[in-house]
């Protein structure tokens, strides 16, 4: 009974994802106005030959600041999990 329920859920999800694959058209996106402006004026406004780096660090630099903060916070959390307590290990060990 549970096996039939799992297989039914997966078949419904498969139909949904593959119908979405048929709806989009590959090679002709819908709106390209903002990207045409970035390709035409990106070299003189950011000063770099690589337009993707110009978008990541100059046009959308605020998202990169958030991403660097997320990386820092993850290392903070992982360091909290794996910490080593002081010399009096038997008193602080909670169980």
């Amino acid at each position: 009974m549970k096996n039939a329920l799992r297989v039914g859920v997966l078949v419904v999800c498969a139909v949904a994802f593959l119908v979405a694959g048929l709806g989009l058209s590959f090679g002709t996106p819908a709106y390209t106005d903002m990207d045409d402006y970035m390709l035409a004026h990106g070299q003189e406004e950011t000063g770099s030959n690589n337009i993707v780096t110009g978008v990541v660090f100059d046009y959308r630099g605020f998202d990169t600041l958030g991403e660097a903060t997320v990386l820092f916070t993850v290392v903070l959390g992982a360091g909290l999990v794996f910490r080593r307590l002081g010399k009096k290990e038997d008193e602080y060990e909670y169980e």
Binding site: R6, V9, L10, C13, A14, F17, L18, A20, G21, L22, L24, S25, F26, G27, T28, P29, T32, M34, D35, M38, L39, G42, Q43, N49, N50, I51, V52, V55, V56, R60, D63, T64, E67, V70, L71, V74, G77, A78, V81, F82
Partner: protein, 114 residues
């Protein structure tokens, strides 16, 4: 319909990752299923921004000046880094659960009442 293959591949990757999360009983295999779902989403993002007969948006010795959309690739860069961060924290929590319960099986963790 045969030229929509990248979208079909992205949907297939998400479907396989979802099947792994639902079906398996081991905790580490569930984390790997989540990584598969994130890979499928990244492929879908990059495939959306493709324009026919165009090259990468870099002006250093470029073969032509018809280029693909660069904004979508910036979004994918951020998504990959956030995927790494999520997987690292999930694996740390799996290590703590294994140390406390002594097993990695999901069905046995529901019966231990501690």
């Amino acid at each position: 319909m045969i030229e929509n293959i990248p979208f079909f591949c992205a949907g297939l990757l998400v479907l396989i990752g979802l099947a792994v999360i639902v079906t398996k009983r081991d905790l580490i295999k569930m984390v790997m299923g989540l990584a598969l779902v994130e890979a499928g989403v990244n492929l879908l993002l990059v495939a959306t921004g493709y324009i026919s007969d165009s090259v990468a948006p870099i002006f250093t010795n470029a073969p032509s000046t018809d280029m693909v959309m660069p904004t979508v690739q910036a979004m994918t860069l951020t998504n990959i880094v956030i995927g790494i961060a999520t997987t690292a924290l999930l694996l740390s929590f799996v290590m703590i659960v294994y140390k406390k319960y002594g097993t990695r099986d999901v069905t046995e963790m529901r019966r231990l009442k501690e």
